[in-house]
């Protein structure tokens, strides 16, 4: 069974640039999560979906971050105008009936 895949693995931007992260969850997993993990910290939930519906996006900085999962499978997280404070690893996870499985993450550096 293939695990959660993410791309790109690394991204380096100047402040103000936009970036998108892509996630392909484990087949059959109805729930998909996006986390932000700053260096030397634990992951913090940004948003999660069940199928195509957003269940909780209360921690997503809505003025610059957006996330979609249009067909209830793959998902895209986008940062419109990146700031240095967005420097972190962005992790995608999927689950079905509990027990989340994580992808390798995208390490973002904003200069």
């Amino acid at each position: 069974e293939a695990g959660v895949t993410q791309s790109p693995r690394y991204a380096v931007l100047q402040e103000g640039q936009a970036v998108s992260f892509w996630c392909d969850p484990i087949s059959g997993h109805d729930t998909l999560y996006w986390y932000q993990q700053p260096r030397d910290q634990g992951p913090q939930l940004l948003v999660y979906f069940r199928d195509e519906a957003v269940i909780d996006n209360s921690q997503l900085p809505s003025d610059r971050f957006s996330a979609v999962r249009p067909k209830g499978t793959n998902s895209t997280l986008k940062i419109q105008s990146a700031k240095q404070g967005d420097t972190a690893t962005y992790l995608c996870a999927s689950s079905r009936l509990g027990g989340q499985y994580f992808g390798p993450g995208t390490r973002l550096t904003v200069l």
Partner: protein
Amino acid sequence: AQSVTQPDARVTVSEGASLQLRCKYSYFGTPYLFWYVQYPRQGLQLLLKYYPGDPVVQGVNGFEAEFSKSNSSFHLRKASVHWSDWAVYFCAVSMGSGSWQLIFGSGTQLTVMP
């Protein structure tokens, strides 16, 4: 509000020695608890999970954890550490059924000395 505290940011043990990584949670109700491991430049891997029932749960690679409601703890243990266990370990709590989102602790960096 739910929270998880891992009081030890760094732990160093000798290879072959026993290990305990501490985790304290704050949650009103019955928690679902998890331990994840993160190797360098990799995502998180599930080590073990506690669903209400037997307080001692077994995980992969010889890890186990014990849930204590009275102490609000979920400590991770291993009898004999191997050099390949060098990684960051995260404890997490979830409300469970209906909302499986995880609240993570800040992590414990485990260093294994030869």
